[in-house]
Symmetry: C2
Subunit: 107 residues, 2 copies
DNA sequence: AAAAAACTTAGCCATTTAGGTAACTATATT
DNA sequence: AATATAGTTACCTAAATGGCTAAGTTTTTT
């Protein structure tokens, strides 16, 4: 029962990876540029990039020896949708309860 | 550098836990009721509930021997905010790029 | 041609995670 | 009083995660 939301949410469940996403909203960047602010070995950092790519949050292209990473616009919206749906259902339910409460008051 | 978003997103990165959240939008439920549709041992399932509670996604109260679990309304909205912010920054950036492109066309 | 830069691959390690069983506690039911 | 129900606690295991180092490949630069 594995869902795209699994890899998506766990990808965002790490501060390094969220920082990368935040950085990428400012525009594409190379692996080295993305790595620079993070105090960890490059291979370790590359694994984080791989997780982001598996989650469909970024894609990358290589030119010569440098790889440039881009944010994937659609992915953020998808998870936002899931959260929005859950919240909407919840709030509708609260509204119905409120109505029921009002009606029973008027008895 | 641990953030409330860490526990939040990883809590949602599991299908069992997302199913529990979806169920709870329909209204509160006891541990047994929540457990019933999931083919796993109860102690295992309880750990999932604990993760949801740590993430601030649910809370629960015990009456007699039964514990009732409720969804925590505010939490979903917080993560939605994070995603919305990232998407907004990204889209603003695309808009600025589009303007630049238009301006350089008019030369 | 040699050296530096920018990744990549391979493999190691500690901790966390997601699953399980067994045994226990506390409350209802009969 | 005895039994069943609803959780809870304690502990075990396999796999995934997040970190590392060392060594390799492929471009650029000098």
């Amino acid at each position: 029962m594995t869902n795209y939301l699994d890899t998506f949410f766990t990808a965002l469940g790490d501060p390094t990876r969220r920082a990368v996403i935040e950085r990428l909203t400012q525009g594409p960047a190379t692996v080295s540029e993305l790595h620079a602010p993070h105090d960890m070995a490059l291979p370790t950092f590359m694994k984080h990039l791989a997780r982001l790519q598996d989650a469909g949050l970024v894609h990358s292209t290589k030119q010569g020896r440098t790889r440039t990473v881009h944010i994937e616009t659609a992915a953020l919206a998808q998870a936002e949708d899931w959260l929005k749906t859950q919240r909407r259902v919840w709030e509708n339910r609260l509204d119905r309860l409120a109505e029921l409460a009002e009606n029973s008051n008027s008895h």
